[in-house]
Amino acid sequence: MQSEEIDLGTVAAVDAQEVESEALSAVAAAGTVDEIERVRVEYLGRKSPLKLALREVRDRETGMTLNALRERIETTIDAREEELRRAELDRRLIEERVDVTIPGEDVRRGHLHLITQIRREFEDIFLGLGYTVVDGREVETTRYNFDALNFPEGHPSRSPLQTLFLDEETVLRTETSPSQIRTMEAQEPPVYIVSLGRVYRRDTPDATHTPTFHQAEGLAVDEGITLGDLLGTLDYLCKALFGESRKTDFRIHHFPFTEPSVEAYVSCHVCDGSGCPVCRHSGWIEVGGSGVVDPNLFEFVGYDPEKYTGFAFGWGLERIAVLRHGIPDLRELWRNDPRLLGQF
């Protein structure tokens, strides 16, 4: 180490060779970035003999020699510093190693109810097809819940054994279909809507029934709508919900509000149609009712059944939950056990 007090007289006469060899051995001796920084100050700093000598130099030759010396020392220091930094980083990276299997910090995140997730998925499928989503009401008049939907007198659904009545003319809706009627009354065709929500039936709760459940309803009314359009739409829906490789099958059925009426089946997503408990060994799973809108509904809302045709379908969201997510007992969906909610 050099003392602070430098004899200015000797500076100009600095011995380049000596300085160089001293500096190089100091560089070699530096073991840390801090040490190499001290070496830099000592040999190249403002008060270093070399800097002072350079300041004093008057002849070109000496200047060139000293500058060359300075550059050499600087290069050597830089290289050494880089080397030491790299070594320190390497050491740090090794020291900082952790057990990567330790859990992360706790972030509070809740869960949407499974039915909400399915509801959104269903809505999104139809939003993509150009449908809008309608929020129907849950308490309905018998006029909208039954009469307008062409339920014949004496239909079992009209009985208080199956339906929850508030008074003779008011019920908790038994299906989402009244929203079809209210939508058609409020607007002219074309109509492309889905309506999802709670429906109510006088069903004793068991593994496959709850007195409240959720339906998803679709309605399309336009010029030239065909039964084939219904089947194509349901085929698309089945594939969107259960997988592109699913097949669909349609079978004639009967509902008051559609004619013809069709029940849709999807090839079993569990066994791919070869037969398993989920599809009760038939290879097919019934997924929902549907049909061509009965002209009586058009009459009720004042649409011209010669000009317009339409189709409608209704699915149970719980059924999708059971089929796709293996919910063994529908009542569990209402118990709000965090251990169940958190699975989805």
Partner: protein, 764 residues
């Protein structure tokens, strides 16, 4: 409806496997749940080991009292010796025999030749339960005499069968009959239909039949027939077998005939012991006040005037169309029978059936509307069988009816059918389809509807369905053209989703709780007049109570419950017929008032709203920790509700969403830096910090961009009954950099305002 294919084969000839038949029916006609395999197995010639036999000799077994040794001709030339434990036959009987090697459904191994107590037994004489044709094991099956020994048993009895388990839709009561299903099969699979035609037995020694219909609307037709010399006995084996396969209990020949014919034609019948009918008379009328009848199930039924009854000259003897009465039941002693082949109007029967909670195979058909014209072929077939099987003489027959419905004519445009279905179906094919289903089609496409479809097919669109049924699996899958449509969520639907996402992000999980509750805080809440259970009796006007119960579930199971929320409707009573339904959001958050408020603030922030509250009270909330806002209420749950400390809120979403600004507009907070100044002021304990912030804002004017409380401190230095409130102030102008002097001036104004309004002392 169980459809044994061996039986169905009487009415339709078709080249198709049971699976093909089931598949076609499922697509086009009715639900086929499954195909049952019944009887003996059809493998390795097994069925050939079951033969008709004639018993040539019967001798006592030398070594066993209960057994007999029989010599049985099974068409092999030499008789077979078979040891048998049944005693209901003698030599000459025609019986069913299984040969050694035969697999019986009740045995795991094939039948072998063996010695029974020293006597060789080379086969088995069969009882009905041994081949799946019944439950009776009291004796062996006795076949009708005259069958040739050695004939395959399967020709005589359905020892091997496939049975369709089919469920027609409610509009197709015609398919609750063998004939109806045979018609579908013939039409769908190009088969040949054989409608059963029998010769009506001749009336001998004719006597009048006294039938009176007092209510022609509810009973449009009543065919009554009288039979004498009836011998009530077990049914012959073929009839017992058919009923067994259709899951109908065999009772006696007379009762079995009525059930058998119902299954064939779909028109239920009833047989009365005529000797027990006062004056031998039938009166179809409404029940009289206080009248009672004891039905066949042994229940004394109190009748109402709305009930239609079959009565004799004195009293009700049957609940019409639903169940007969015990007093006039056909028994072993019966020799005189009155056969009822009638027609009943569906709605009255449905109401009575519901009122008495009594559903029978008969009421199940009547309530769907049976074709009145079917009474006649049903009466004929039943009469024929009563004469043939019960040795009866028919001594009288009457057909009382009002005007029976005429067959409806409906016009069809075949091109319209193709257009609605979305498949070009040639008119000839449409015509053929309709004719196959029993419609008559004129050259001008006026279509006459068969009587058994009268209730179901009344309009052109109903005919379109008929045309569509057989081709459903050929209809191309297309999508609607959807011109002029656009799909999107409404603003409030979008905001509901956003709300859900914010709450999930804040650690809450979504709960679903019932709309119906045991009770509701509002006295005006709508009550169901006839709830299913006391738990679900009132339409709720608030979500919080349900959510409290839901959370209790989580606590009970020991889960780490962080909180729940629900978005659902409440039902507020209104002056209209229908209640007002509003979307509500409720949440319960672990940690008390501040935790719930934090979540609610986060939601407001997401909606670009500022949460402003004022003190309030609420039955479910802590009296000192409750606040209200325009859209709802916020607070700490009353400590008595749940273990632990919980905060909660309930918000009317439409109110909340109506405040959401349509869009956020850019504000320059970047170009010129803010000057931050924190102050701490001491105020009396009862001064609300919200009021301090409001006053600061008011005083600070537009250059005060932010005023936020970040600490409240109580301690000796502040003094008893006082608190120190630290407020972060940020001053900023979008036009220039504020000087320190300007900021200091504004700060001074604010401090002064706080001092004058609240006696606030500046601490720092």
């Amino acid at each position: 409806m169980l459809v044994p294919l061996s039986w169905l084969g009487d009415y339709v000839t078709v080249k198709a496997t049971p699976e093909e038949i089931a598949r076609r029916l499922a697509i086009s006609s009715l639900d086929v749940e499954r195909i049952l395999d019944v009887g003996v197995r059809d493998l390795d010639g097994n069925i050939g080991r079951f033969l008709v036999g004639r018993v040539l000799e019967v001798e006592a077994h030398p070594n066993a009292d209960r057994l007999r040794v029989c010599q049985v001709d099974v068409g092999e030339g030499d008789a077979r010796q078979i040891v048998c434990g049944a005693w209901n036959f003698e030599a000459g009987a025609t019986v069913a025999v299984a040969l050694p090697g035969a697999y019986l459904p009740i045995l795991d191994a094939p039948l072998d030749e063996r010695e029974l107590r020293g006597q060789a037994s080379r086969g088995m004489i069969l009882a009905e339960d041994e081949v799946g044709l019944g439950d009776d094991h009291a004796g062996i099956m006795l076949l009708e005499d005259g069958l040739e020994p050695g004939r395959p048993l399967v020709d005589v009895l359905p020892i091997r069968d496939r049975v369709l388990d089919a469920t027609p839709t409610v509009n197709r009561v015609d398919q609750l009959s063998m004939v109806g299903i045979a018609r579908e099969v013939a039409a769908l699979l190009d088969g040949e239909l054989h409608i059963p035609e029998v010769e009506d037995p001749a009336v001998v020694d004719e006597e009048p039949v006294d039938i009176r219909i007092e209510d022609l609307e509810r009973c449009p037709r009543y065919i009554g027939r009288v039979f004498r010399d009836v011998t009530v006995a077990p049914s012959p084996q073929w009839l017992r077998a058919r009923l067994h396969l259709a899951d109908i209990r065999s009772i006696s020949n007379v009762v079995d005939v009525t059930n058998y014919v119902m299954h064939v034609w779909g028109s239920p019948l009833h047989a009365f012991d005529r000797s027990k009918l006062a004056e031998g008379r039938i009166v179809v009328r409404r029940a009289q006040p206080g009248e009672k009848v004891r039905t066949l199930d042994g229940v004394n039924r109190k009748l109402e005037q709305e009930d239609l009854v079959i009565a004799d000259a004195e009293r009700a003897v049957a609940l019409a169309a639903i169940m007969g009465g015990e007093e006039t039941e056909v028994t072993e002693e019966t020799t005189e029978v009155l056969l009822e082949a009638a027609n009943f109007e569906p709605l009255g029967i449905l109401a009575s059936s519901e009122r008495h909670a009594l559903r029978t195979a008969g009421s199940n058909r009547w309530e769907k509307g049976v074709d009145a014209y079917l009474a006649e072929p049903a009466a004929k077939l039943a009469s024929r069988l009563l004469v043939d099987l019960a040795g009866a003489r028919m001594t009288g027959s009457t057909d009382v009816h009002g005007e029976l419905p005429e067959r409806r004519v409906v016009h069809l445009r075949p091109e319209r059918a193709s257009k609605v279905i979305g498949l070009e179906i040639p008119p000839d094919e449409q015509r053929k389809t309709l004719e196959g289903f029993g419609f008559e089609v004129s050259p001008e496409w006026d279509v006459t509807v068969p009587t058994w479809r009268a209730r179901d097919v009344t309009r052109e669109v109903d005919l379109v369905e008929e045309v569509a049924r057989p081709v459903l699996d050929r209809v191309p899958l297309t999508m609607p053209r959807r011109r002029h449509v656009q799909g999107r969520l409404s603003p409030s639907q979008r905001l509901r989703r956003l709300t859900e996402d914010v709450l999930v992000g804040a650690g809450l999980s979504e709960a679903y709780t019932w709309s119906l509750a045991a009770s509701d805080p509002s006295f005006e809440a709508i009550r169901l007049p006839d709830p299913m259970t006391a738990d679900q009796a009132v339409l709720r006007t608030t979500l919080l109570p349900g959510l409290v119960s839901a959370l209790q579930t989580g606590i009970d199971v020991g889960a780490d419950a962080r909180g729940l929320f629900e978005i659902a409707r409440v039902y507020l009573p209104s002056d209209e017929q229908l209640p007002e339904e509003r979307w509500r959001l409720a949440a319960i958050v672990a940690g008390g008032y501040a935790a719930a408020k934090g979540v609610l603030e986060a939601l407001h922030d997401a909606l670009k709203l500022e949460l402003r509250v004022e003190r309030d009270t609420h039955a479910l909330l802590h009296p000192g920790k409750t606040a209200k806002m325009e859209a709802g209420v916020l607070g700490e749950l009353h400590p008595t509700l749940l273990e632990g400390t919980w905060g909660g809120f309930e918000i009317d979403l439409e109110t909340l969403f109506s405040q959401v600004p349509e869009r956020s507009v850019y504000e320059d907070v970047i170009t010129y830096p803010a000057v931050n100044q924190d102050i701490a002021v001491a105020v009396d304990e009862d001064v609300e910090v919200g009021a301090l912030v409001d006053a600061a804002r008011e005083a600070g004017g537009p250059l005060l961009r932010e005023a936020r409380v970040f600490d409240v401190y109580r301690g000796e230095q502040v003094g008893e009954g006082r608190k120190s409130v630290a407020i972060h102030l940020a001053f900023q102008s979008p036009e220039r950099t504020l000087t320190d002097e300007e900021a200091a001036d504004l700060r001074g104004v604010i401090v002064e305002a706080l001092a004058s309004s609240f006696g606030a002392e500046l601490r720092a």
